[in-house]
Amino acid sequence: MSKAIVLYLHVHQPYRVRHYTIFDSGQKHDYFNADLEKSENNQQILQKVAQKSYIPANQRLLKMLQQYPQFKLSLSITGTVIEQLEQWAPEALKSFQDLTATGRVEIVAETYHHSLAFFYSRREFEMQVKMHRQKIEALFGQTPRVFRNTELAYNNDLAYWADKAGYKGVLAEGWDSILGWRSPNYVYRPQYTEDIALLLKNYKLSDDIAFRFGDREWSEWPLTAEKFVNWLKADQKATNFNLFMDYETFGEHQWGESGIFEFLEHLPKYWLKDQAQIFATVSEAIDQFQPVGDIDVPNTVTWADTERDLSAWLGNSMQQEAIKALYGLQDQIIASKDLSLIEDWRCLQTSDHFYYMCTKWFNDGDIHAYFSPYETPYEAFTNFMNVYHDLKYRLAKHQEKV
């Protein structure tokens, strides 16, 4: 019986809102165009990440695909990052296309705008999933068959929806509360579904790479590919090790100096030494391994924070007020048929905007602060709400014309 590493990397960048004041509302509609020297300038960030992560990591991945015919991986790439790559780093986009051209890189379905629309508007959610599919088909020539929701936000409803929509699998966090005593290293079946599989992230092994790899205080530092492969071998009955993480782990969250690229390159060398050990894309893992049990997830589970719920995005009243205000505009926005207005509204649905408003651990200056371009969650909220007022202004102008 063979066993597989299922490596899945998530590529995403939002359109960050610039410092947008009450004086801009009703005057300027360039929400996402921060000045070049500002920390929230999208072009600067995108080009930095492309240089530090996308381009060097894709070079390595391509080399590995050429060197090891058995090496495979899966990617998800949001519409908002694709647009930015097209505009500011076409060579990085090309390097992703080079990967998929090998036929051994599978792209996973999701919402175009990396939104939480599933929880607010099913109609909007389905539209964004469709937009994403069309973009992926046009750029990469493949139709995604496995679905991941934004932030791996998952519950029974999502599995039910994905089953009806014809996907063969869904990705989710292998969190203890849904697995209980069971291991994430198998394929499961979501409760109440007919024909869909569930792949659960092995968060311990994934986070060893994504979070702990460069941490010199960590007892396992330095982590080598050989050591890591030995850990996998220790679980003799497992069928699939689901290593899910942000793509930016390679070169951005873990800097090149940490040796993360070398780790990646050495992984197939040690893993493929044993013929029973393979790499599989998400679809292949689902085809190859039978589900070993049902998983029931009535409450939403995500891949963030120790709570693994939606509280990083929707935990405080600012976040709730902002997202409710935004989705409250849906009918008017869609009815306006104003494409630039609709597109701006969709870009504001990106979950990152709400993440920046999180106050949970703002005191400790931890990971939330690292990922936010704003000085405080309150600035993020103020900018966002001023933009919201401008959307309303534009809607009112529109209705005057009609």
Partner: protein
């Protein structure tokens, strides 16, 4: 310890800071005699408070505000009024006799008014002196050089001090900039607030009118402080004009007295916002506490604020705050809004966002209360004890 004021005879934050600091130090077994230049009615049981009585003076300042001119009655019946600078000199001259026969290890003096007295003691007793800077002359002058005589006192004494304590990094930087004091001689000890010790509110707010307006959907912006150039209220009024344009149901409550009172009054009329701006004059007690409590947002727009205790007090009364970045308090608060004092556009932007959003206000408020609750004067006292030890050890080495 030498100081110019203690509650209830204080005009501002200096007295409160001295009082709370001594209270915390006394918990660490520091024996304090606090010498002030006036006869007061203090209720501090954790230290001795002594009035420094000039020779030949029968009656001198009794309480009141610490910065006015005062009439001294001499034993020969002569009467004379003295301004602040003369009072400072009298304090210096009287300090030797006030401390005669008393033993102490260290002299800790608060602000320029007591610095020459501290120098005098160092000269006579050879004990180390710690000069605690709550504000320097360029702060009080709103960024201008200020009074050259005061400047000279600060320059001389800070140079001769064994250790200098600054109430913020902002103040430390100003001391280095204005007086060229070596950075390693200056220790930053931020002021604190003990939220469990603030005077509680009673059930009814004194501002009936404002409460009624709030019930009608008005939002109230509050500032409490002296009406001086340092406090930057002209910028707040400028910003508030635009706030009212966006959100007409907004009122600004300005509590305090000072030389700019009439100027600010006139300015709000010129800006056409008199209907929305309320000046109360100087307040104490319930009316003062209730002003914090009635606010939806407290604004500290200072041009140059060495520390700024009022935002912490506002948080103590459950009111969120917007503070100038040119303030010491902005160094110790994360859960607040911050703005450069000159950036009136951004001030408007932030005030409007708070006026418009209950959620923003609630998050700022709840998180700030939590943040400030974890602070106490004991942390400041611990830092000061370390400063004392270093000053004493350095003295031994010489």
């Amino acid at each position: 310890m030498l100081g110019w004021e203690l509650p209830p005879n204080n005009s501002g934050g200096l007295g409160v800071a001295c009082y709370s600091l001594c209270q915390a130090l006394s918990r660490s077994q520091v024996d304090i005699e606090f010498i002030v230049p006036y006869l007061g009615h203090h209720s501090a049981d954790f230290m001795t408070v002594t009035a420094s009585q000039p020779a030949g003076v029968k009656v001198f300042r009794e309480g009141g505000s610490a910065y006015d001119s005062y009439k001294y009655v001499f034993s020969d019946g002569r009467q004379q009024s003295f301004g602040i600078f003369e009072q400072q000199k009298i304090f210096e001259e009287s300090i030797a006799s006030t401390t005669e026969g008393k033993a102490f290890d260290i002299v800790h003096a608060h602000d320029w008014l007591t610095f020459r007295a501290a120098l005098r003691l160092k000269e006579e007793r050879g004990c180390p002196i710690v000069l605690h800077v709550h504000s320097i002359e360029s702060d009080r002058a709103g960024g201008k050089p200020g009074n050259p005589l005061v400047h000279e006192i600060e320059a001389t004494s800070l140079n001769l001090a064994d250790k200098v304590v600054a109430v913020s990094q902002f103040t430390k930087d100003s001391i280095i900039r204005d007086y060229n004091i070596p950075p390693d001689k200056i220790e930053v000890v931020h002021n604190k607030i003990n939220l469990n010790q603030i005077e509680p509110l009673d059930s009814e707010n004194a501002y009936h009118y404002l409460s009624a307006m709030r019930a009608q959907g008005y939002r109230i912006i509050v500032n409490i402080g002296r009406l001086t150039i340092q406090k930057g209220l002209n910028n707040l009024l400028q910003a508030f004009k635009d706030v009212v344009a966006y959100e007409p149901k907004t009122l600004l409550l300005i509590v305090g007295a000072g030389e700019l009172h009439y100027e600010l009054l006139e300015m709000s009329a010129d800006l056409g916002i008199s209907r929305n701006v309320i000046f109360t004059g100087f307040l104490r007690g319930k009316a003062w506490r209730d002003a914090y409590a009635i606010g939806d947002l407290f604004v500290l727009p200072s041009v140059s604020e060495p520390f700024g205790l009022t935002p912490l007090e506002a948080i103590g009364y459950q009111t969120p705050v917007l503070v100038s970045r040119q303030s010491g308090v902005s160094e110790v608060l994360k859960h607040c809004l911050k703005v450069d004092f000159w950036d009136t556009k951004e001030m408007t932007n932030k005030i409007v966002s708070v006026v418009r959003s209950d959620a923003l206000r609630q998050n700022l408020q709840a998180n700030a209360v939590q943040e400030v609750s974890s602070q106490s004067w004991d942390q400041a006292a611990d830092k000061l004890l370390a400063v004392y030890r270093r000053a004493l050890n350095a003295g031994v080495a010489v």
